[in-house]
Each structure stands twice: as C-alpha cells, then as structure tokens.
Amino acid sequence: MSAAASDRDEDRALAGEYALGLLEPDAAAAFEARLLTDPDLRAMHAEWAQDFASLTDDFPEVTPPARIKAAVHDLLFPTPPRRNALMGWVLGGLMAAGLAVFLLMNSGLLGPSGPGAPTLTAMITAEDGAMVVAAAFDDTDGTLNLERTAGAAVPGRSLELWLIAGDNAPVSLGVLTDGVHTSVTVPDALRGQMAGGTLAITDEPLGGSPTGGPTGAVMATGVVTPV
C-alpha cells in the first residue's frame, strides 16, 4: 500500500472514530481543527455521519408533547421584559386601567349596580398588550365573565385561566373558549379568595393542563379589584 493510500485509510478510520464519538478530547479537538481546512476530511466525516444515521432508520417516530414546542419557543423567542422600564410599567398600568374601564363599559359586563352586577373586576393583560382579557366577577352567584379582546390560543393549544390567591398555588378556573366570551362559575370555596387575587392565563395543551398546575408560558396576568 502506498504512503498516500495508507494516510487516506488513517483519515477514513479517524473520521469514523470521530463520528462515533470515540476520540479522546485532545484528538477530537485536533480532528475538528483539521476539518476546518481539509475538504476531503470534511467529506469523509459527512459520509460516516450519513452511514451511521441510517442506524436510526427503523426507530419509530414518536410525537413529542406539545409543551416541548412551547418551551423551545419560550427559550428562543422570549417576550422582551419591561421590568427595568419603570415608567413603562406605570404608564402601562394606567393605560390598562383606563382600557379596562372602557372595555368593561363597552362589553356590557359593567351594568348599573344592583343585583347581578359585578362586584369585582380584573384586566388580565400581557405586558406587551398582545393579550387583553377583561374579567368581571359577581359574588352573589360566583359567575366570572370574561371578554377576550386581544390575543388568542396558539393553534392546537388552549388558554387556561388560573386564580392565584396570596402565596397559594394557582388553581384552575377552566379553559377559555375559542370565542370572545367565556363564562365560568367559580367554586364556592374559592369565591372568598377572588378579591385581591391574581388571575393568570397560561398556554396549555389542548383541553388544558394535564397536571392540574400550569405547565406552559404565562400569557397574561391581572389583579382582581373591587368595582
């Protein structure tokens, strides 16, 4: 065998070892350095990768849970935080409050006071305004009416509403309908915790969280305050 052919065999075996992950760290680093400048070696490596990848041909495909896709999106494309912009917060809060009253008036959730009129309201909003849901709670019968005026569930996913009272764990109040209006009846035991509580909407697998607690990204939040 000529010296050139033997070098070529040496490289072939080396490229295979690298593709299998068998090289010691030093040897692997040296190989990677050569890859940058040696197109033949790159081709050998790519060939091995292709050959070995065929070992996975028979592996059954398994659809991953939907939350993985949401988690990848949250990692790569986070909603820009605005916590450092205090002024933005204050202005945003004022605007949200103004908007809340406006939307509540327009959505008919806030009628004249009297029996059946809401006693508590909340504006559940995203920091960037991408989701706005107005909520009105009537403590005489536990009805919580919601009007979604901005934002929607990711296709194939659901929006789930949670009540967070003080330091308690979030309790699900149900999944929002696809329509603009959702009405839920708050369980007796939770009605007393509504005032001052926080309502949050999270992105969940279709039909709602499978675990009983929120699993996806928080889309919007708002504090429940007296009318």
């Binding site: 068998l22 070992l55 996975t56 495909e61």
Partner: protein, 184 residues
C-alpha cells in the same frame, strides 16, 4: 417531506425566519424524539434533550452548509450527539456515586434491545446494515454500541474483555472494512 424541503427550511432558519423553524419542528420533531427516546430510554430526559436539539438547530443553522451533510443527517446527528452526551453524563454520575466496578459494569448493560434486534430485516435495509453483516458479530456490535449507546473505547474493551489497544485496533479495522463494503 423531501430532503430538498428540509434543506430549504434550514436555509431559511439560518436567516432567522421563525416560521421556517416552526415548520421544521412540526415535520421532524417526531423522528428526532424517537431517536432521543431510543438512546435514553427515559421520557423526561428525552424531552429535555429534544428541547436542546431544537435550540441547537436554531443557533447552528448558519453552519449547516459548511459541513456538507444532507439535511436529515445533520438533524439526526445533532439529536444523536445530544442524546449520547446526556447518556454519558448519566453514566458518569452513577460511577461517581461510588458504585464498585462490577456494579458499574452491570449498570452499563444495555436496557434496550440488543444489536441483533437493532438491525431489523426489511426490504429496504440500509446499506450500512448490510455491510455490518459482513463483519464478525462482536465487531458489528461494537460499532453499533458506540453509535447508539455512546460506549467509549474503555467501556467497549471492558465489555468484550480485551485490552484497550486491541479494542481500538479492532474497531478501526472494522471501520475500514465497512467503508470498503459501502463503496462497492
């Protein structure tokens, strides 16, 4: 989904197009999750690794062309390498846990189907599978264990009860023999 379509999705991801990323996820995540599950044999870990894989795809799409890989090979290799990294970490944790030698070797034993089961007979057997059959069974097994279980030379030498250098020589010869068969 053809290779050309996946290729163009990766090219669009390289320019920062999120829609292309979502489309690629929808079309390839089941295949890649299947690989993570097979390698790790643990659903929670496979989910974590799948997440890592797609983060890597987003960040490395620009470098995809330079490697000269076909698009599915590129994706499968990222998934396999990430899963193997996780598997090796799991093993070294167990060894750090103060297991004695015998126990550790036993723990390294493969919980998944053995190599005989890996190469399933079918009309469309990959060329590599055919060529692996031309090797002595133990040597074909070593190659598959390195790729699918991430076993190192050290682990393979212990498994086949041969000195480390012998294991290395075996495997390198097997690789050359495989290449010869593959190029026929």
């Amino acid at each position: 989904m053809t290779q050309a379509e996946i290729d163009s999705l990766i090219a669009r991801i390289a320019t920062g197009e999120r829609q292309a990323f979502t489309a690629l996820y929808d079309r390839t995540s089941a295949k890649l999750f299947g690989i993570c599950l097979r390698v790790l044999n643990d659903r929670g870990e496979a989910e974590d690794v799948l997440q890592e894989v797609f983060v890597k795809v987003w960040h490395n799409a620009k470098r995809y062309r330079a490697g000269g890989f076909s698009p599915m090979t590129w994706l499968i290799t990222i998934a396999r390498n990430a899963a193997i990294d996780r598997l090796r970490k799991r093993r070294s944790k167990k060894e750090d846990g103060g297991q004695d030698g015998l126990d550790a070797v036993e723990r390294l034993a493969d919980p998944a189907p053995g190599p005989e089961a890996l190469v399933v007979a079918s009309d469309e057997r990959a060329q590599l599978a055919l060529c692996l059959d031309t090797l002595e069974p133990a040597r074909a097994e070593a190659v598959q264990r390195a790729y699918l279980e991430g076993e190192t030379y050290d682990e393979l030498a212990r498994r086949f009860a041969v000195p480390l250098n012998t294991m290395r020589t075996w495997l390198r010869r097997s690789l050359l023999k495989l290449k010869e068969c593959l190029s026929q």
